[in-house]
Symmetry: D2
Subunit: 491 residues, 4 copies
Amino acid sequence: MALPVDKFREECGVFGIFGHDSATAHVALGLHALQHRGQEGAGIVSFDGKQFNAERSLGLVGDHFNDPKVIAQLRGRSAIGHVRYATTGGTTLRNVQPLFAEFDFGGLAIAHNGNLTNAGALKRELVSRGCIFQSTTDTEAIVHLIATAREPRAMVPPATASPGVVLRIIEALKQLVGTYSLVAMTQNFMLGARDPYGVRPLVLGELDGALILASETCALDILGARFVRDIDPGEIVIIDESGLKSLKPFLPVSPKFCVFEYVYFARPDSIVEGTNVYEVRQRIGAELAREAPADADMVVPVPDSGVPAAIGYAHAAGLPFELGIIRNHYVGRTFIEPAAQIRHLGVKLKHNANRATITGKRVILVDDSIVRGTTSVKIVDMVRNAGAKEVHMRVASPPTTNSCFYGVDTPMREDLLASSRTIEEMRKYIGVDSLSFISLDGLYRATGQQARNPKTPQFCDACFSGEYPIALTDFLSGDQPAQLSLLSERG
Amino acid sequence: MALPVDKFREECGVFGIFGHDSATAHVALGLHALQHRGQEGAGIVSFDGKQFNAERSLGLVGDHFNDPKVIAQLRGRSAIGHVRYATTGGTTLRNVQPLFAEFDFGGLAIAHNGNLTNAGALKRELVSRGCIFQSTTDTEAIVHLIATAREPRAMVPPATASPGVVLRIIEALKQLVGTYSLVAMTQNFMLGARDPYGVRPLVLGELDGALILASETCALDILGARFVRDIDPGEIVIIDESGLKSLKPFLPVSPKFCVFEYVYFARPDSIVEGTNVYEVRQRIGAELAREAPADADMVVPVPDSGVPAAIGYAHAAGLPFELGIIRNHYVGRTFIEPAAQIRHLGVKLKHNANRATITGKRVILVDDSIVRGTTSVKIVDMVRNAGAKEVHMRVASPPTTNSCFYGVDTPMREDLLASSRTIEEMRKYIGVDSLSFISLDGLYRATGQQARNPKTPQFCDACFSGEYPIALTDFLSGDQPAQLSLLSERG
Amino acid sequence: MALPVDKFREECGVFGIFGHDSATAHVALGLHALQHRGQEGAGIVSFDGKQFNAERSLGLVGDHFNDPKVIAQLRGRSAIGHVRYATTGGTTLRNVQPLFAEFDFGGLAIAHNGNLTNAGALKRELVSRGCIFQSTTDTEAIVHLIATAREPRAMVPPATASPGVVLRIIEALKQLVGTYSLVAMTQNFMLGARDPYGVRPLVLGELDGALILASETCALDILGARFVRDIDPGEIVIIDESGLKSLKPFLPVSPKFCVFEYVYFARPDSIVEGTNVYEVRQRIGAELAREAPADADMVVPVPDSGVPAAIGYAHAAGLPFELGIIRNHYVGRTFIEPAAQIRHLGVKLKHNANRATITGKRVILVDDSIVRGTTSVKIVDMVRNAGAKEVHMRVASPPTTNSCFYGVDTPMREDLLASSRTIEEMRKYIGVDSLSFISLDGLYRATGQQARNPKTPQFCDACFSGEYPIALTDFLSGDQPAQLSLLSERG
Amino acid sequence: MALPVDKFREECGVFGIFGHDSATAHVALGLHALQHRGQEGAGIVSFDGKQFNAERSLGLVGDHFNDPKVIAQLRGRSAIGHVRYATTGGTTLRNVQPLFAEFDFGGLAIAHNGNLTNAGALKRELVSRGCIFQSTTDTEAIVHLIATAREPRAMVPPATASPGVVLRIIEALKQLVGTYSLVAMTQNFMLGARDPYGVRPLVLGELDGALILASETCALDILGARFVRDIDPGEIVIIDESGLKSLKPFLPVSPKFCVFEYVYFARPDSIVEGTNVYEVRQRIGAELAREAPADADMVVPVPDSGVPAAIGYAHAAGLPFELGIIRNHYVGRTFIEPAAQIRHLGVKLKHNANRATITGKRVILVDDSIVRGTTSVKIVDMVRNAGAKEVHMRVASPPTTNSCFYGVDTPMREDLLASSRTIEEMRKYIGVDSLSFISLDGLYRATGQQARNPKTPQFCDACFSGEYPIALTDFLSGDQPAQLSLLSERG
């Protein structure tokens, strides 16, 4: 039995460095720091002045890229890398990024965080033009768009290296609908791009004079690199020997950064869009304590993602913060089919209620979110079996009522507990004495906003509000999404 | 580079169950819950009424024993298992327990937590009698002692099954010096034994009428099993179809449970010797706050082992508890040779300072212990680089001045930071503004004692006090310890 | 050290079956029988009515496709497969065929034996049109040509299923220069094609009403399938539910079957172009005995490829045929670096002179060919060290003076021993008392021809004559062959 | 389905070298040359002056010992090695030899070819004395006998190094019943021993001044080593820095070398007991032609073991020798479950009838032996399906009517085709037009004897005659043989 995954899951992380003697070693470490954004596979492509060198593997970064021989073969002073989650169906090495292709202008490697909502339509169009897809990732559509793009009229500063290539990439990006924070590398330059809405994060860093692009600042910290700034929504940066140039070739739109990055995806030590994630989560806890107090003896986080909000809640409520649930740090990814007798084995492989601490107590459980609710049921049951007198659940995000199509692995809408149930129905299902979620306004306040702007929300909060800021082309037209393929392949 | 291990490490965990239809599946889960006691290798031996079935593997329990086919092959209603750490030298499957041997009375499997301090002397004597050792573990000496034991005069209740075999095992145990909590299994019964000093833990549980022996109660919780009681120091229990019988064949001595189990080894949710570990650790933090207050803005644990004491300290000191250091949950066991430029890569693979939280702040860092001090230096440096204005370190155990010879992997005495330095010298070495350790009396108070009895300490605290309660036979005589062998073998 | 490969090596074998309940199992067995045509990697693609299922692996067919689970996953009543040799550079799974691509008309899998001599020119042209290559095989050019082909005016019998798709494939094939015997499969039909010169073999078979395409008849024998006929040079067959249709869309040219298939590539039990290979080889031996007799005591083959010619030689010469060299059947593909002291370890891993048989004797050694000559030197030295009084070498092919560019892995011309040496120089180099090669006319006679037609040779014998019947487009223009790539990748 | 094994199988090969700088590399090569004597597992133990270094692995020698790192770790100037077959039950690394044990005098490694017929009795006795067995091999009994042996009165030349150790080994060997050709190594010397009957071969060689012990001379040839002489039946040789010493501590008996070594086990290029195996096999063929002529068109061997006898038969009969059956050289050890439709897939994975050669012909098939007969049935059927007009089978050994207990893996007596059938019944079963076996006298003549001495046969020919020269202690007493164990273990 795979461990129950009852979370939204970020689908990717990207990292690139240009002009460093230990380029690949730094990419490997950066990807390790971004591992929470994708654990299915990892890949690195470097360029050594003559040739691109690629290595991809299923599993964790440290499972494969901890081998000095692997690192040594990925020669060169520039390199980009990628970590990714499995979506559905067969996990195959073909889908592990960065993708690489040879064009008439030379080679190009690309790593993409996000999801194209018109990938199906693009693929159908490209196949009819004679393009052959080798992976089932939406990212490959970008590669074919670049391959078949004609150079448009100039719009790039003349000083830019390889202006024709850059123009073709821009031409390709303009045809995309959806979200992307991507890093690409040619023989001459590294490129970073964020979609006009800036849904996924992308930051710029610097180490020993070399420039770095990464999904989150925690990937800079591990290297001792300096955080320079966020890449802006709709910005394209070109990094070459002459330095960095910034382009903004898209019509400006109101940014829609993913608010769930603050709730769960980003690492707490990262600074995203100017704000520290840990502090936002603490403030969510504090807001929640104000919005939904409870008469209780202690605040207990569901580890580890519930910890910052629980600290914030406990402090604001003046209640003790206690580790009433202990985490087993040696959880692998799969384990034995549960012997039928063992209740809720799934959560017990990872967590154990700390009976001595919670028995006879009124406990406020703080979790980051409720998705299907199946894990919550088991955790609450475990806590009650350990003797808790009352269990009050407080959730550090609003009810998740809608699926995400922007680069996050979420269940179908009908599988989301909140999609069709009242709070009271959910309370009964989960089996708690009280249940409260933070309000959407409370969440926005915790991020530093005054309140949610109902006309033009400052974030993408579609999973809570159902308001999708970017067209869901494939899904509305009934097109097959790009991931479907005639080919089933392993290995 | 392997991740820096700058901790004392428990060397083993044991688990056994007698008379359950899913015996092996439960042993696998129990070992998974005991994984913190040993991560080098795991093994299970079951008995199916006719034959013993064995499986051993290097690595984590979940790496191998998550395979339903492996579990299915380990047929039978009784099974015992073991997790272990590497000590020095080549890690080899031969040393993974349980050990198994065939005797004139049939088969016997044995799993041992602890360390025999006369193993070298025993081995030399046994080899001269014609015994052939196949592993380099001290445990094998017990097996040969049983094989060559003569049955002594009866002392066992006549109702016991296989009284002759039990007597031979007791005869063997009487020749041991050192520590052992062990579980053994023959064709007729399961046996649990704890050395007269009771240095290592061993508990009795019950599930569906089947009796269980385990190193810690957390291994009962994962199964939903009931905790019955601790096995007493010097007690031998025989579990067979007729139930449990208890023997106490040794001269009684004053118990010396290992106090470091409370400090670091045991899981916080376990109840050892009647006391919950998490609560002891919180009380240590509270004692420490009283003994060594500091004028500071926040209390930050070194995750994860420093968390309970930090919570206790923060509460007692009335200071905020903050996650100023974030842990990467995807740490594998090895990673890339550090590119020379990366300062303190080792700790950064696992931890990152949460800059936004600690910058400009006066921080109290709480760690469970300081062993070599090398990790502390790196963590403090990382915290300072993240902008902490002051760093005060508080350690939840007294200075560790002496090595352990009782089943714990510790550095040589000269490598222990505290073995030859004053507190002030250590403070300078680690680079903190102030440094305090809890007192030995404070530690004893946190466990529920009034104070340490200086004549007959209630615990074994040799690593702090240098007072070794059990003879170090091999080490005093200059004998080669049992681990040394003429054979070097891999795989 | 890899075992010395001092042979020409066929680069591929293909197999396909249409409309059989055990399609994949039969492909696996057919590929096993064709293993001598390629040992680097094997792949199978099946079609199950809805989806194509693919599996590729490095190594022998039996290393991977002996797993019933693997076979079971390759569902469907039609399947094609491929075995291949490594050429130069990194062996990578990406290059293991069948290739698969999705087009606007659906999926297509293709397996190719042969080599395109204009692959470099085609690839450059295709890339400039926006095609993206994923492998470094020349075969991928065919796929892109099909993808970008426009449907030409009809030339296909109206009754053919999917006439448009067939026309596009023909359009693509018309742009190829070089050699190909290929098998392809779409959702509706299986296709077999042989280049107009028919350089590589391809045969048609039948089993339980299902039609089969295979490189050699030995792949029919293993299944108990019936040999129907050879596919003609320039013929394209379309096999679908309605049966087989034959097209001949190319201008007819004089066929040029590869004469080296008779000398070494094909298995002796195969019937190629109407003639049994074993009998041709025996007749070569007999011709050789007439052309180049020797006064000797026995005829000894260099096993195993020299055996049939040696039998023919011995019989014609009236001399005993003796196993003077014994083969070790357990040769893996690599072995230990030779300890410096061991003379000619390479050949000894595989062969040993049978001292008792040859000592004091005048030996005629029969080998199939001499390529670099390095192995011959070692074998002759081994035979002399075992006491042979005289060694006369007889070679069952003419001197190989030229490289092959038509799907065979051969050394560069300058590395061919015969490219720059007289027979006498070669004799001295190899260290034999006499050396003779069969004449080109003798070789033709052994195949059943009267003699070689000097104006229009009945076979391709470019490796002996230097007369290349098909244009070497890439090589003459100095173009980079298609195999070169900007990407270096493992795994 | 595993390939049908319808042969007697030698169970082991041994090799040792004393005093050579590349000791381990030479052992690995020697074992590779002895691979035909055991393909299940291989092991090497070296001694480097301080420590013994061991490495064992399942599979072929070249699968594991082709790694220069593995060789490099097996440091030292002396080393011994072993190859073995699986017998029944789980193949486990524990049973791969050489065995190693530490005694009061130091370490000893031992590699054994043969089988002890009193191993069960010995094991029972040793276990009752407190010995603990770790493997299920009979060889381990030897180790425990040495461990528990007392030094007897001197009988060894005073100049011998370590006389006490040698005496203890002799004392142990004296308690053995059965067959053994063994090589052992201590810190001071290498020892070779052959049982008094000399059933299994053992030869002495020399290379660069270093002495070598090996099962067959082909293992000397691969190294370029010189064959010195056979070790005599009942001889023990001690090789140390001072050279070789020979002991003959047993009462002399009439030697009984295994005649089946000539028929099938030994490699044809080996010289065993003074006679070349290939020539014996040719003479068997010639004898067979005289004893059992047939009116036919050609002689066809069942490859490869039937080849030498077929050459001898063809020459004596004046008939052509033809490769009417072709062998696939890429046979792995297992393959796909036969699709039900494929007749006799098992033999076809390995062999194919050469239809063009044999169709319409009267064929004499020559095989080395008939064991169960199942393979013969399939081969004859395949040959008939390929069009042979008549099939006459000639077998190069007498009917195998009895099992072997002396170190050979044979079926139970009742599974031997000849154990309960007349020649005519066997002829019908196999489906041939005529069937003849060589006579026992004919076989003896082919080895160079005048005839078989009916009172004291010059060889062990128990498998043909049922006359077992050495007591079958375990089997007569109904004792469990030593291989049975209470433990079932994998890996």
